[in-house]
């Protein structure tokens, strides 16, 4: 037996939808105006030679750098190295976080023993651990993956635990009335009901570990990655590389966000669970 919490409502198709749609499109155009003006100003400023500084590169320079980096394969190498570490750390951290959060949510004894320590640890700035991690695990990939998995573990564990705690009492009472075994209770009631919250945790973990990827590459400088590209550009006073790197970081973060949202929506709608 399965408790389906709520059906995702099908979208009503009506006349009002069309007007909303067109208004949204017009909104998009207005939103584009500001960036266009900003780039135009930047271009004009760099072309007019009013400011004599090597740092004021023109948009064309940035595009050229982008083309070179993409063409020579340097970009792909750096991005792949970063993303591989991110995926590895995220997988380890999310799994461990899910198990820890599950234990904290399911057992009151575990919550009592581990919970306060976990809460305290959660509030200490994660980056402060990097120097210690670098002593214990070196400057290479191992240290970075350890750090990334820590960054991913915290939100997943916290949200898994919160999600299980937030399951309405009546669901559990119903399951008890139906004489569910403990495993059945977890499998058919607690997990599905906590899933939206768990997804929030996973989603945060993805963002945090992407941030941590950058941080780890700044602070543990060995190896290659998109963070190293940025820091190298900064050390060589190459503003074009830095700007290009920032755009790549932003786009990658946005893509990870979009991917996570998409997976969340697909899984939740497959399971007929409405997101709060």
């Amino acid at each position: 037996m399965r408790i389906s919490l709520a059906r995702r409502p099908t979208r009503p198709v009506c006349a009002c939808e069309a007007t909303v749609e067109t208004r949204r499109r017009r909104v998009d155009l207005r939103g584009v105006a500001l960036p266009i003006v900003a780039v135009a100003l930047w271009w004009a400023l760099s072309a007019s030679h009013v400011v004599k500084s090597g740092l004021l590169v023109s948009p064309v320079d940035v595009l050229r750098t982008a083309y070179e980096q993409a063409g020579s394969g340097a970009l792909v190498r750096a991005l792949l190295a970063s993303l591989a570490r991110e995926a590895c750390g995220f997988a380890i951290g999310a799994t461990a976080g899910f198990l820890l959060g599950g234990a904290l949510g399911l057992s009151r004894i575990a919550a009592r023993i581990v919970g306060p320590s976990f809460d305290t640890f959660k509030q200490i700035s994660l980056f402060a651990w990097i120097p210690l991690i670098s002593v214990w695990f070196g400057l290479g990939d191992a240290a970075k993956v350890v750090f990334l998995s820590l960054a991913a573990l915290l939100p997943v564990a916290a949200h898994t635990c919160d999600g299980i705690h937030a399951v309405p009492r009546k669901y559990v009472e119903l399951a008890n009335a139906l004489r569910y075994s403990r495993l059945q209770l977890i499998r058919y009631v607690l997990l599905p009901a906590a899933l939206p919250s768990i997804f929030t945790g996973l989603y945060l973990a993805l963002i945090h570990s992407w941030l941590a990827t950058l941080g780890a590459e700044y602070l543990l400088v060995a190896g290659s990655g998109i963070g190293n590209l940025l820091i190298d550009g900064s050390e060589q006073f190459r503003m074009d590389i830095v700007l290009f790197g920032i755009v790549v970081v932003g786009v990658t973060g946005w893509a990870l966000n979009a991917l996570a949202r998409r997976v969340e929506r697909t899984v939740l709608s497959r399971l007929h669970i409405a997101n709060q």
Binding site: S107, I124, I130, P131
Partner: protein, 289 residues
């Protein structure tokens, strides 16, 4: 960990005590219940105590090399040395000044931008997409850019910490300003509130809980940004102490500084927690969810 957990775990000590009814075992049962209550209260300290024990015994017996993990006594000594020499106070004050100024600036700017975006749909249409695009780039992404633009000096720290605080405050202010309950909005219209009255009497009170959450999050982010920027580019401050200790392989210094960073972050978080609770209690009940 709230106690409202739905659970399958053992009953609380008090409940067990009442189950045992017979007079003969009453005293025995009561002492057992007291013992269990005691264990319940001490349980949170079990894990830290165990780790600490392992750490000190491991160091005393030489299981762990001091280059990898210095003994607790040494970390403590270093902490005392730092405190007595005034180094600790100096670096802590610098860090606190940076985080407070950056945080205050970022929060004020965030209130302004978020308030403007929340009140005007037109402004939102023009500005919000650009804002969202800029937000996609994490604080760490801006670091190399600002490093080139303004150098390694103090402005770099204020800008980064301010930016870290600005984003959550702006987003939550905008969201908060949008959630004035529709029913009260209608009442306001009936009373023919002016725009100003509507903002002060309706929108602001309704936004307080969301604002508090935003400010709370902003501080966490600002503290994180402070540590990062001090680790990467700084010559004083708590983050610098950590890096300095790491470079000299003085792990006792590193750990002592990490402890200070952790304690300060924790204390300020607790303070903000209390403040947030206070603010939430202060809002009229109509605005509670």
């Amino acid at each position: 960990m709230t106690d409202t957990a739905i659970t399958i775990s053992p009953d609380t000590p008090r409940a067990t005590a009442s189950h045992i009814g017979t007079a003969g075992t009453h005293v025995h049962a009561r002492s057992r219940a007291a013992l269990r209550a005691c264990a319940w209260h001490l349980a949170p300290w079990l894990l830290p105590a165990l780790l600490f024990l392992l750490w000190s015994v491991g160091c005393a017996r030489g299981w762990i090399a001091p280059q990898i993990l210095p003994a607790p006594q040494r970390v403590y000594d270093t902490l005392v040395d730092l405190a007595l020499s005034g180094e600790l106070a100096r670096n802590t004050l610098i860090s606190l000044q940076r985080v407070l100024l950056g945080f205050a600036g970022g929060t004020l700017l965030g209130f302004t931008i978020g308030g403007a975006l929340g009140l005007s749909r037109t402004l939102e249409a023009w500005v919000l997409p650009s804002f969202n695009a800029v937000v996609q780039i994490p604080v760490l992404g801006w670091l190399p850019f600002l490093l080139l633009l303004v150098g390694v000096g103090e402005p770099l720290k204020y800008l980064l910490i301010g930016h870290a605080a600005l984003v959550p405050v702006t987003l939550s202010t905008m969201q908060g300003f949008r959630q004035a309950p529709a029913a009260l909005d209608e009442v306001a219209r009936v009373y023919a509130y002016t725009r100003w009255q509507r903002i002060v009497r309706l929108v602001l009170p309704a936004a307080v809980p969301t604002l508090a959450t935003g400010v709370r999050l902003a501080f966490t982010k600002a503290w994180l940004a402070l540590v990062v920027v001090e680790l990467v580019a700084s010559s004083e401050g708590l983050g610098y102490l950590i890096v300095y200790g790491r470079q000299l392989f003085q792990l006792d210094l590193v750990m002592a500084s990490v402890v200070v960073v952790g304690v300060i972050g924790l204390v300020i978080n607790r303070l903000l927690d209390a403040l947030e609770k206070r603010l939430r209690r202060g809002t009229p009940s109509a605005f509670r969810a």
